[in-house]
Subunit: 149 residues, 2 copies
Amino acid sequence: METAVSEWQRHAQDALAHAGYRSSGPRNAVVEALAELGCSVTAKEIADLLDEQGRAVGLASVYRALDLLDRLRLVQRFDVGEGTARYEPAHPGGEHHHHLVCQSCGNVSAFEDQGLERAIEKLSRRVDYSIDAHDVTLRGECPACHARG
Amino acid sequence: METAVSEWQRHAQDALAHAGYRSSGPRNAVVEALAELGCSVTAKEIADLLDEQGRAVGLASVYRALDLLDRLRLVQRFDVGEGTARYEPAHPGGEHHHHLVCQSCGNVSAFEDQGLERAIEKLSRRVDYSIDAHDVTLRGECPACHARG
DNA sequence: GTGAATGCAAACTCTTTGCATGACT
DNA sequence: AGTCATGCAAAGAGTTTGCATTCAC
């Protein structure tokens, strides 16, 4: 749904303004790039996209923007074990997904699963930590690599 | 159980020998350190332990050993999002646990949950990837930090 | 003796920080 | 005007790699 992305973009920009942050070209560009690229992107991918679009933003500023968005919980930061942080828009409703990582080609895709969420919720009540987030990564071979042998 | 660790140590050393790798002091020391430290250690923690024990191993060799052990699936490499890889002995039976990370103090602890494993197993059959591993990280506040406010 | 494993240092990648410059309110 | 945000370049952290040396088989 095209709407969801721009919805997130508006939401994020509102939240930034509300929190007292100034509206600036570079930061807005990062928000836009996130909305455009969607799920599972790296800081460099964002910088590269903006570069191609002729509105380059310094990598440091991309990191600063992502860090801020993460602190405001407007993006979800995660990491599938390549030593590079990945980011994606965090939807206010709390609905979220998890990731499948292809061990051959490195491709990352997303899935949702209610059974999993329920199991995690139940489990969260059982452990002695007070849980407020979780993430799950499944590793294997994507259909393309599997076909290829 | 004390036995399980040395069992893993023996298993790992056997597996290395079987795979045609030479037995060497430094690599054996890394295996021992892993057995001793157990769950969720970093390369540096291993190097530091060996250092204290007066049998220092170069950090590069620790990484090389860990990399090899990981390829032979004798250790599990994971990452809780601090930008540092963590390792732990992988038990041959396949039994494994997941991690709780304290967002205040960074402490990492382990848990097991059958309900979660079942949910993941069911889910694995549903997705189009062929899954062969998974990991789950729960984030929150550990009891100590929670008490502290 | 031969080739693998090691140690050290240099290289690399990703990320963060210091500081002067420029932009929003 | 007064900050906050940016860009650049330098600094940092973690990890990998090149190469000469040492050690296992």
